[in-house]
Amino acid sequence: MITFPGIPGLEGVEISMPLLAFIGFTVGIVSGFIGVGGGYMLTPALIIFGFPANFAVGTGLAHIFGNSIVASLRHRKLGNVDIKLGGLMVCGTIPGIELGVRLLNWCEEIGLVDEMVLGASLAILSFTGAFIFWETRRSKRKMDEIIRRGERLPKDIFVSGISKRIQQINIPPLIYFPKSRSRISLWVGLCIGVFTGVLVGFMGVGGGFVIVPCLIYLIGVPSIIAVGTSLFQIIISAGFGAARHTMSGNVVIYASFIMILGACVGTQIGVLATRLVRGPSVRFVLGYSMFFGAAGIALKLASILSAEKVYWLNLTAKGFIIGQMFLLVGMILALVIMALMSRRGHHIPKWAESLVVKD
Protein backbone atom coordinates (compact mmCIF):
# COMPACT_ATOMS: atom_id res chain seq x y z
CA MET A 1 0.00 0.00 0.00
CA ILE A 2 1.24 3.52 -0.69
CA THR A 3 0.35 6.69 1.16
CA PHE A 4 0.88 10.36 0.38
CA PRO A 5 2.18 11.98 3.57
CA GLY A 6 2.55 15.70 3.63
CA ILE A 7 0.02 16.38 0.86
CA PRO A 8 -2.96 18.31 2.29
CA GLY A 9 -6.28 16.63 1.49
CA LEU A 10 -4.77 13.16 1.18
CA GLU A 11 -4.29 12.37 4.86
CA GLY A 12 -5.31 8.80 5.47
CA VAL A 13 -5.62 7.92 1.75
CA GLU A 14 -4.04 4.55 1.00
CA ILE A 15 -3.98 2.70 -2.29
CA SER A 16 -2.37 -0.51 -3.49
CA MET A 17 0.56 -0.03 -5.89
CA PRO A 18 -0.22 -3.14 -8.01
CA LEU A 19 -3.82 -1.94 -8.25
CA LEU A 20 -2.69 1.45 -9.55
CA ALA A 21 -0.39 -0.22 -12.10
CA PHE A 22 -3.18 -2.61 -13.11
CA ILE A 23 -5.61 0.28 -13.56
CA GLY A 24 -2.98 1.91 -15.79
CA PHE A 25 -2.43 -1.32 -17.78
CA THR A 26 -6.11 -1.98 -18.53
CA VAL A 27 -6.90 1.67 -19.24
CA GLY A 28 -3.82 1.68 -21.51
CA ILE A 29 -5.14 -1.20 -23.64
CA VAL A 30 -8.53 0.45 -24.03
CA SER A 31 -6.95 3.87 -24.55
CA GLY A 32 -4.63 2.71 -27.33
CA PHE A 33 -7.45 0.85 -29.10
CA ILE A 34 -10.28 3.41 -29.05
CA GLY A 35 -8.36 6.69 -28.82
CA VAL A 36 -9.50 7.89 -25.43
CA GLY A 37 -7.36 9.06 -22.55
CA GLY A 38 -9.29 6.74 -20.26
CA GLY A 39 -10.18 9.47 -17.76
CA TYR A 40 -13.84 8.47 -17.65
CA MET A 41 -12.72 5.10 -16.29
CA LEU A 42 -9.74 6.47 -14.37
CA THR A 43 -11.43 9.34 -12.51
CA PRO A 44 -14.33 7.25 -11.08
CA ALA A 45 -11.90 4.40 -10.28
CA LEU A 46 -9.62 6.73 -8.28
CA ILE A 47 -12.64 8.28 -6.52
CA ILE A 48 -14.00 4.84 -5.67
CA PHE A 49 -10.63 3.74 -4.30
CA GLY A 50 -10.39 6.68 -1.96
CA PHE A 51 -9.03 9.70 -3.82
CA PRO A 52 -10.97 12.94 -3.31
CA ALA A 53 -12.59 13.95 -6.62
CA ASN A 54 -10.38 16.96 -7.33
CA PHE A 55 -7.22 14.85 -6.84
CA ALA A 56 -8.69 12.06 -8.97
CA VAL A 57 -9.31 14.54 -11.80
CA GLY A 58 -5.88 16.18 -11.68
CA THR A 59 -3.90 12.98 -11.15
CA GLY A 60 -5.80 11.27 -13.95
CA LEU A 61 -5.02 14.12 -16.34
CA ALA A 62 -1.29 13.99 -15.55
CA HIS A 63 -1.30 10.26 -16.28
CA ILE A 64 -3.32 10.73 -19.49
CA PHE A 65 -0.80 13.35 -20.66
CA GLY A 66 2.11 10.93 -20.38
CA ASN A 67 0.24 7.90 -21.70
CA SER A 68 -1.05 9.77 -24.75
CA ILE A 69 2.55 10.47 -25.75
CA VAL A 70 3.28 6.74 -25.59
CA ALA A 71 0.18 5.92 -27.65
CA SER A 72 0.70 8.70 -30.23
CA LEU A 73 4.27 7.65 -30.95
CA ARG A 74 3.05 4.18 -31.83
CA HIS A 75 -0.02 5.37 -33.77
CA ARG A 76 2.20 7.69 -35.81
CA LYS A 77 4.29 4.70 -36.86
CA LEU A 78 1.09 3.06 -38.09
CA GLY A 79 0.06 6.15 -40.09
CA ASN A 80 -2.95 6.88 -37.88
CA VAL A 81 -2.30 10.50 -36.88
CA ASP A 82 -3.61 13.55 -38.80
CA ILE A 83 -1.42 16.19 -37.18
CA LYS A 84 -2.96 19.10 -39.11
CA LEU A 85 -6.50 18.24 -37.98
CA GLY A 86 -5.39 17.59 -34.42
CA GLY A 87 -3.56 20.92 -34.35
CA LEU A 88 -6.70 22.80 -35.44
CA MET A 89 -8.85 21.27 -32.74
CA VAL A 90 -6.26 21.94 -30.06
CA CYS A 91 -6.53 25.67 -30.76
CA GLY A 92 -10.14 25.51 -29.55
CA THR A 93 -9.48 23.00 -26.74
CA ILE A 94 -7.09 25.13 -24.71
CA PRO A 95 -9.50 28.00 -23.90
CA GLY A 96 -12.20 25.37 -23.27
CA ILE A 97 -10.05 23.68 -20.63
CA GLU A 98 -9.60 26.92 -18.71
CA LEU A 99 -13.39 27.30 -18.54
CA GLY A 100 -13.74 23.69 -17.38
CA VAL A 101 -11.18 23.99 -14.58
CA ARG A 102 -12.81 27.16 -13.25
CA LEU A 103 -16.15 25.38 -13.25
CA LEU A 104 -14.67 22.43 -11.32
CA ASN A 105 -13.05 24.67 -8.70
CA TRP A 106 -16.37 26.49 -8.22
CA CYS A 107 -18.14 23.15 -7.67
CA GLU A 108 -15.51 22.26 -5.08
CA GLU A 109 -16.15 25.55 -3.26
CA ILE A 110 -19.88 24.85 -3.02
CA GLY A 111 -19.20 21.28 -1.86
CA LEU A 112 -20.85 19.47 -4.78
CA VAL A 113 -17.80 18.43 -6.76
CA ASP A 114 -18.33 14.64 -6.59
CA GLU A 115 -21.98 14.85 -7.61
CA MET A 116 -21.41 17.35 -10.42
CA VAL A 117 -18.42 15.54 -11.95
CA LEU A 118 -20.11 12.15 -11.81
CA GLY A 119 -23.46 13.55 -12.98
CA ALA A 120 -21.94 15.25 -16.04
CA SER A 121 -19.94 12.11 -16.85
CA LEU A 122 -23.11 10.01 -16.66
CA ALA A 123 -25.14 12.24 -18.98
CA ILE A 124 -22.48 12.54 -21.68
CA LEU A 125 -21.43 8.90 -21.63
CA SER A 126 -25.05 7.68 -21.84
CA PHE A 127 -26.03 9.86 -24.79
CA THR A 128 -22.85 9.37 -26.81
CA GLY A 129 -22.71 5.63 -26.14
CA ALA A 130 -26.32 5.13 -27.27
CA PHE A 131 -25.69 6.97 -30.55
CA ILE A 132 -22.52 5.02 -31.29
CA PHE A 133 -24.30 1.70 -30.71
CA TRP A 134 -27.14 2.66 -33.00
CA GLU A 135 -24.87 3.80 -35.84
CA THR A 136 -22.35 0.97 -35.58
CA ARG A 137 -25.02 -1.75 -35.66
CA ARG A 138 -26.29 -0.28 -38.94
CA SER A 139 -22.74 -0.06 -40.32
CA LYS A 140 -22.05 -3.67 -39.41
CA ARG A 141 -25.23 -4.79 -41.18
CA LYS A 142 -24.02 -3.01 -44.29
CA MET A 143 -20.64 -4.75 -44.05
CA ASP A 144 -22.32 -8.14 -43.56
CA GLU A 145 -24.29 -7.51 -46.77
CA ILE A 146 -21.06 -6.76 -48.61
CA ILE A 147 -19.62 -10.08 -47.42
CA ARG A 148 -22.79 -11.94 -48.53
CA ARG A 149 -22.43 -10.40 -52.00
CA GLY A 150 -18.84 -11.66 -52.09
CA GLU A 151 -17.38 -8.17 -52.56
CA ARG A 152 -14.20 -6.77 -51.00
CA LEU A 153 -14.73 -5.26 -47.54
CA PRO A 154 -13.55 -1.67 -46.96
CA LYS A 155 -11.45 -0.92 -43.85
CA ASP A 156 -14.25 1.29 -42.51
CA ILE A 157 -17.82 2.25 -43.30
CA PHE A 158 -20.32 4.42 -41.48
CA VAL A 159 -23.90 5.31 -42.25
CA SER A 160 -24.35 8.66 -40.47
CA GLY A 161 -24.89 11.53 -42.96
CA ILE A 162 -24.06 14.21 -40.42
CA SER A 163 -20.47 14.64 -41.61
CA LYS A 164 -21.57 15.32 -45.19
CA ARG A 165 -23.89 18.08 -43.95
CA ILE A 166 -21.16 19.57 -41.76
CA GLN A 167 -18.71 19.54 -44.64
CA GLN A 168 -21.27 21.56 -46.60
CA ILE A 169 -21.05 24.42 -44.07
CA ASN A 170 -19.15 26.91 -46.20
CA ILE A 171 -18.05 29.48 -43.65
CA PRO A 172 -14.57 30.44 -44.84
CA PRO A 173 -11.84 29.63 -44.42
CA LEU A 174 -12.32 25.98 -45.41
CA ILE A 175 -9.43 23.66 -44.65
CA TYR A 176 -8.61 20.36 -46.40
CA PHE A 177 -6.98 17.56 -44.43
CA PRO A 178 -5.24 15.18 -46.89
CA LYS A 179 -4.54 12.46 -44.31
CA SER A 180 -8.22 12.06 -43.43
CA ARG A 181 -9.46 13.25 -46.86
CA SER A 182 -11.97 15.62 -45.28
CA ARG A 183 -12.70 19.34 -45.58
CA ILE A 184 -14.36 21.50 -42.90
CA SER A 185 -14.74 25.12 -41.91
CA LEU A 186 -12.08 26.42 -39.52
CA TRP A 187 -14.87 27.58 -37.17
CA VAL A 188 -16.46 24.13 -36.97
CA GLY A 189 -13.14 22.63 -35.91
CA LEU A 190 -12.61 25.33 -33.30
CA CYS A 191 -16.14 24.92 -31.85
CA ILE A 192 -15.66 21.17 -31.46
CA GLY A 193 -12.30 21.89 -29.83
CA VAL A 194 -13.80 24.33 -27.27
CA PHE A 195 -16.56 21.87 -26.36
CA THR A 196 -14.10 19.05 -25.74
CA GLY A 197 -11.86 21.43 -23.78
CA VAL A 198 -14.61 22.25 -21.28
CA LEU A 199 -15.14 18.52 -20.70
CA VAL A 200 -11.40 17.99 -20.22
CA GLY A 201 -11.06 20.67 -17.60
CA PHE A 202 -14.24 19.80 -15.74
CA MET A 203 -14.32 16.03 -15.82
CA GLY A 204 -10.61 15.22 -15.74
CA VAL A 205 -10.69 13.36 -19.01
CA GLY A 206 -8.56 13.67 -22.10
CA GLY A 207 -11.73 14.35 -24.09
CA GLY A 208 -11.21 11.33 -26.33
CA PHE A 209 -14.66 9.85 -25.81
CA VAL A 210 -16.09 13.03 -27.31
CA ILE A 211 -13.24 13.75 -29.78
CA VAL A 212 -13.35 10.31 -31.45
CA PRO A 213 -17.13 10.36 -32.16
CA CYS A 214 -16.86 14.01 -33.27
CA LEU A 215 -14.03 13.21 -35.68
CA ILE A 216 -15.88 10.18 -37.09
CA TYR A 217 -19.46 11.46 -37.25
CA LEU A 218 -19.06 15.24 -37.59
CA ILE A 219 -15.93 15.46 -39.74
CA GLY A 220 -16.04 12.05 -41.50
CA VAL A 221 -12.59 10.80 -40.48
CA PRO A 222 -11.94 7.01 -40.76
CA SER A 223 -12.27 5.45 -37.30
CA ILE A 224 -8.66 4.40 -36.83
CA ILE A 225 -7.27 7.76 -37.98
CA ALA A 226 -9.76 9.31 -35.51
CA VAL A 227 -8.22 7.14 -32.77
CA GLY A 228 -4.64 8.22 -33.47
CA THR A 229 -5.51 11.88 -34.04
CA SER A 230 -7.55 11.98 -30.86
CA LEU A 231 -4.62 10.67 -28.82
CA PHE A 232 -2.33 13.27 -30.41
CA GLN A 233 -4.79 16.01 -29.48
CA ILE A 234 -5.12 14.64 -25.98
CA ILE A 235 -1.37 15.22 -25.40
CA ILE A 236 -1.96 18.94 -25.66
CA SER A 237 -5.34 19.08 -23.95
CA ALA A 238 -4.38 16.76 -21.09
CA GLY A 239 -1.03 18.51 -20.68
CA PHE A 240 -2.72 21.88 -20.41
CA GLY A 241 -5.33 20.44 -18.06
CA ALA A 242 -2.66 18.77 -15.92
CA ALA A 243 -0.73 22.07 -15.71
CA ARG A 244 -3.85 23.91 -14.68
CA HIS A 245 -4.74 21.30 -12.06
CA THR A 246 -1.15 21.28 -10.75
CA MET A 247 -1.54 25.01 -10.12
CA SER A 248 -4.69 24.20 -8.13
CA GLY A 249 -2.79 21.54 -6.15
CA ASN A 250 -4.84 18.64 -7.55
CA VAL A 251 -2.07 16.37 -8.93
CA VAL A 252 -0.47 13.46 -7.06
CA ILE A 253 2.46 12.84 -9.39
CA TYR A 254 3.60 9.59 -7.73
CA ALA A 255 0.24 7.95 -8.47
CA SER A 256 0.40 9.11 -12.11
CA PHE A 257 3.93 7.72 -12.34
CA ILE A 258 2.87 4.27 -11.13
CA MET A 259 -0.11 4.16 -13.47
CA ILE A 260 1.96 5.01 -16.56
CA LEU A 261 4.37 2.16 -15.88
CA GLY A 262 1.43 -0.22 -16.24
CA ALA A 263 -0.13 1.76 -19.08
CA CYS A 264 2.92 1.73 -21.38
CA VAL A 265 2.59 -2.03 -21.92
CA GLY A 266 -1.20 -1.99 -22.22
CA THR A 267 -1.12 0.89 -24.70
CA GLN A 268 1.18 -1.00 -27.08
CA ILE A 269 -1.25 -3.93 -27.08
CA GLY A 270 -4.21 -1.66 -27.75
CA VAL A 271 -2.52 0.34 -30.53
CA LEU A 272 -1.14 -2.67 -32.37
CA ALA A 273 -4.57 -4.31 -32.19
CA THR A 274 -5.95 -1.55 -34.47
CA ARG A 275 -3.96 -3.12 -37.34
CA LEU A 276 -6.05 -6.26 -37.06
CA VAL A 277 -9.59 -4.83 -36.92
CA ARG A 278 -12.00 -2.74 -38.99
CA GLY A 279 -13.61 0.57 -38.03
CA PRO A 280 -16.87 -0.84 -36.56
CA SER A 281 -14.84 -2.93 -34.05
CA VAL A 282 -13.33 0.23 -32.63
CA ARG A 283 -16.74 1.89 -32.45
CA PHE A 284 -18.36 -1.12 -30.78
CA VAL A 285 -15.72 -1.23 -28.05
CA LEU A 286 -16.02 2.56 -27.65
CA GLY A 287 -19.80 2.26 -27.26
CA TYR A 288 -19.55 -0.59 -24.75
CA SER A 289 -16.92 1.26 -22.71
CA MET A 290 -19.22 4.28 -22.49
CA PHE A 291 -22.17 2.14 -21.46
CA PHE A 292 -20.20 0.41 -18.71
CA GLY A 293 -18.66 3.70 -17.59
CA ALA A 294 -22.12 5.28 -17.32
CA ALA A 295 -23.51 2.33 -15.34
CA GLY A 296 -20.63 2.39 -12.85
CA ILE A 297 -20.96 6.12 -12.41
CA ALA A 298 -24.72 5.83 -11.86
CA LEU A 299 -24.09 3.37 -9.04
CA LYS A 300 -21.47 5.60 -7.43
CA LEU A 301 -23.69 8.65 -7.77
CA ALA A 302 -26.59 6.78 -6.16
CA SER A 303 -24.26 5.81 -3.34
CA ILE A 304 -23.20 9.44 -2.77
CA LEU A 305 -26.78 10.76 -2.98
CA SER A 306 -27.92 8.20 -0.45
CA ALA A 307 -25.23 9.64 1.88
CA GLU A 308 -23.41 6.32 1.62
CA LYS A 309 -26.10 4.66 3.76
CA VAL A 310 -26.72 1.91 1.22
CA TYR A 311 -23.39 0.08 1.55
CA TRP A 312 -23.95 -2.35 -1.30
CA LEU A 313 -24.23 0.52 -3.83
CA ASN A 314 -20.67 1.64 -3.20
CA LEU A 315 -19.44 -1.95 -3.24
CA THR A 316 -21.29 -2.69 -6.49
CA ALA A 317 -19.87 0.48 -8.08
CA LYS A 318 -16.33 -0.67 -7.20
CA GLY A 319 -17.00 -4.11 -8.63
CA PHE A 320 -18.52 -2.64 -11.77
CA ILE A 321 -15.60 -0.30 -12.49
CA ILE A 322 -13.12 -3.15 -12.08
CA GLY A 323 -15.34 -5.59 -13.99
CA GLN A 324 -15.77 -3.29 -16.96
CA MET A 325 -12.02 -2.93 -17.34
CA PHE A 326 -11.67 -6.73 -17.52
CA LEU A 327 -14.57 -6.97 -19.96
CA LEU A 328 -13.28 -4.33 -22.34
CA VAL A 329 -9.78 -5.80 -22.34
CA GLY A 330 -11.37 -9.20 -22.97
CA MET A 331 -13.32 -7.85 -25.95
CA ILE A 332 -10.21 -6.30 -27.50
CA LEU A 333 -8.13 -9.43 -26.97
CA ALA A 334 -10.96 -11.57 -28.39
CA LEU A 335 -10.97 -9.45 -31.57
CA VAL A 336 -7.19 -9.79 -31.83
CA ILE A 337 -7.35 -13.58 -31.40
CA MET A 338 -10.13 -13.92 -34.01
CA ALA A 339 -8.16 -11.76 -36.47
CA LEU A 340 -5.05 -13.91 -36.02
CA MET A 341 -7.08 -17.13 -36.35
CA SER A 342 -8.70 -15.81 -39.54
CA ARG A 343 -5.29 -14.94 -41.02
CA ARG A 344 -4.12 -18.50 -40.39
CA GLY A 345 -7.12 -19.95 -42.18
CA HIS A 346 -9.03 -21.08 -39.08
CA HIS A 347 -12.80 -20.74 -38.87
CA ILE A 348 -14.21 -17.74 -36.95
CA PRO A 349 -17.86 -16.91 -36.15
CA LYS A 350 -19.77 -15.35 -39.06
CA TRP A 351 -20.63 -12.23 -37.07
CA ALA A 352 -16.90 -11.54 -36.57
CA GLU A 353 -15.91 -11.67 -40.26
CA SER A 354 -16.88 -8.03 -40.87
CA LEU A 355 -15.04 -6.86 -37.75
CA VAL A 356 -11.52 -8.18 -38.41
CA VAL A 357 -8.91 -7.73 -41.15
CA LYS A 358 -7.89 -11.01 -42.72
CA ASP A 359 -4.89 -9.76 -44.71
Binding site: F4, G66, I69, S72, R181, M247, I253, Y254, T267
Partner: protein
Protein backbone atom coordinates in the same frame (compact mmCIF):
# COMPACT_ATOMS: atom_id res chain seq x y z
CA UNK B 1 25.59 -2.83 -38.23
CA UNK B 2 22.16 -4.43 -38.66
CA UNK B 3 18.93 -2.65 -37.74
CA UNK B 4 18.39 -5.15 -34.96
CA UNK B 5 21.77 -4.38 -33.39
CA UNK B 6 21.11 -0.64 -33.60
CA UNK B 7 17.72 -1.19 -31.97
CA UNK B 8 19.37 -3.23 -29.20
CA UNK B 9 21.86 -0.45 -28.47
CA UNK B 10 19.03 2.08 -28.31
CA UNK B 11 17.07 -0.30 -26.10
CA UNK B 12 19.92 -0.44 -23.60
CA UNK B 13 20.34 3.35 -23.57
CA UNK B 14 16.60 3.85 -23.07
CA UNK B 15 16.45 1.17 -20.36
CA UNK B 16 19.23 2.87 -18.40
CA UNK B 17 17.51 6.27 -18.73
CA UNK B 18 14.19 4.81 -17.59
CA UNK B 19 15.82 3.05 -14.65
CA UNK B 20 17.29 6.36 -13.55
CA UNK B 21 13.98 8.19 -13.77
CA UNK B 22 12.18 5.44 -11.87
CA UNK B 23 14.85 5.42 -9.13
CA UNK B 24 14.67 9.21 -8.90
CA UNK B 25 10.87 9.31 -8.64
CA UNK B 26 10.64 6.61 -5.97
CA UNK B 27 13.45 8.24 -3.97
CA UNK B 28 11.89 11.70 -4.07
CA UNK B 29 8.51 10.29 -3.02
CA UNK B 30 10.04 8.47 -0.04
CA UNK B 31 12.05 11.55 0.99
CA UNK B 32 8.92 13.73 0.87
CA UNK B 33 10.24 15.98 -1.90
CA UNK B 34 7.02 15.57 -3.89
CA UNK B 35 5.05 16.85 -0.91
CA UNK B 36 7.41 19.86 -0.64
CA UNK B 37 6.92 20.58 -4.35
CA UNK B 38 3.14 20.54 -3.75
CA UNK B 39 3.61 23.02 -0.91
CA UNK B 40 5.50 25.39 -3.20
CA UNK B 41 2.14 26.06 -4.91
CA UNK B 42 0.90 27.81 -1.77
CA UNK B 43 3.84 30.26 -1.72
CA UNK B 44 3.29 31.39 -5.30
CA UNK B 45 5.88 29.08 -6.88
CA UNK B 46 3.45 26.82 -8.70
CA UNK B 47 5.67 26.95 -11.80
CA UNK B 48 8.07 24.57 -10.01
CA UNK B 49 5.32 21.97 -9.58
CA UNK B 50 4.05 22.46 -13.16
CA UNK B 51 7.52 22.10 -14.70
CA UNK B 52 8.34 19.06 -12.57
CA UNK B 53 5.02 17.23 -13.06
CA UNK B 54 4.73 17.83 -16.79
CA UNK B 55 8.44 17.29 -17.33
CA UNK B 56 8.38 13.97 -15.50
CA UNK B 57 5.31 12.67 -17.35
CA UNK B 58 6.60 13.91 -20.73
CA UNK B 59 10.01 12.30 -20.16
CA UNK B 60 8.36 9.04 -19.12
CA UNK B 61 5.97 9.14 -22.07
CA UNK B 62 8.72 9.74 -24.64
CA UNK B 63 11.18 7.25 -23.14
CA UNK B 64 8.56 4.55 -22.64
CA UNK B 65 7.16 5.12 -26.14
CA UNK B 66 10.54 4.73 -27.83
CA UNK B 67 11.52 1.91 -25.47
CA UNK B 68 8.49 -0.16 -26.47
CA UNK B 69 9.19 0.59 -30.15
CA UNK B 70 12.74 -0.71 -29.83
CA UNK B 71 11.50 -3.79 -27.97
CA UNK B 72 9.27 -4.70 -30.93
CA UNK B 73 12.16 -4.09 -33.34
CA UNK B 74 14.51 -6.29 -31.32
CA UNK B 75 12.00 -9.16 -31.12
CA UNK B 76 11.54 -8.90 -34.89
CA UNK B 77 7.88 -7.77 -34.98
CA UNK B 78 7.45 -5.62 -38.10
CA UNK B 79 5.09 -2.66 -37.71
CA UNK B 80 3.62 -1.62 -41.09
CA UNK B 81 1.45 1.40 -41.85
CA UNK B 82 -2.29 0.76 -42.05
CA UNK B 83 -3.98 1.29 -45.41
CA UNK B 84 -7.05 3.39 -44.57
CA UNK B 85 -8.44 3.97 -48.07
CA UNK B 86 -8.92 1.46 -50.87
CA UNK B 87 -6.91 3.54 -53.37
CA UNK B 88 -4.00 4.11 -50.95
CA UNK B 89 -0.65 2.61 -51.98
CA UNK B 90 1.04 0.42 -49.37
CA UNK B 91 4.18 1.99 -47.83
CA UNK B 92 6.46 -0.45 -49.70
CA UNK B 93 5.09 0.59 -53.12
CA UNK B 94 5.78 4.27 -52.39
CA UNK B 95 9.35 3.43 -51.45
CA UNK B 96 9.70 1.37 -54.63
CA UNK B 97 8.37 4.18 -56.82
CA UNK B 98 10.69 6.71 -55.19
CA UNK B 99 13.65 4.48 -55.84
CA UNK B 100 12.72 4.28 -59.52
CA UNK B 101 12.54 8.08 -59.67
CA UNK B 102 8.78 8.17 -60.27
CA UNK B 103 7.99 10.22 -57.12
CA UNK B 104 6.59 13.68 -57.78
Amino acid sequence: MTNKKKALIWLIILAVSLAFIIWHTVRWHKMGVHAKISESIKVGKSYIAVIYNLGLMAALGILLGFFMEKVTQVIGYEVKEIKHFEDEEPAGARTGAAREGKAR
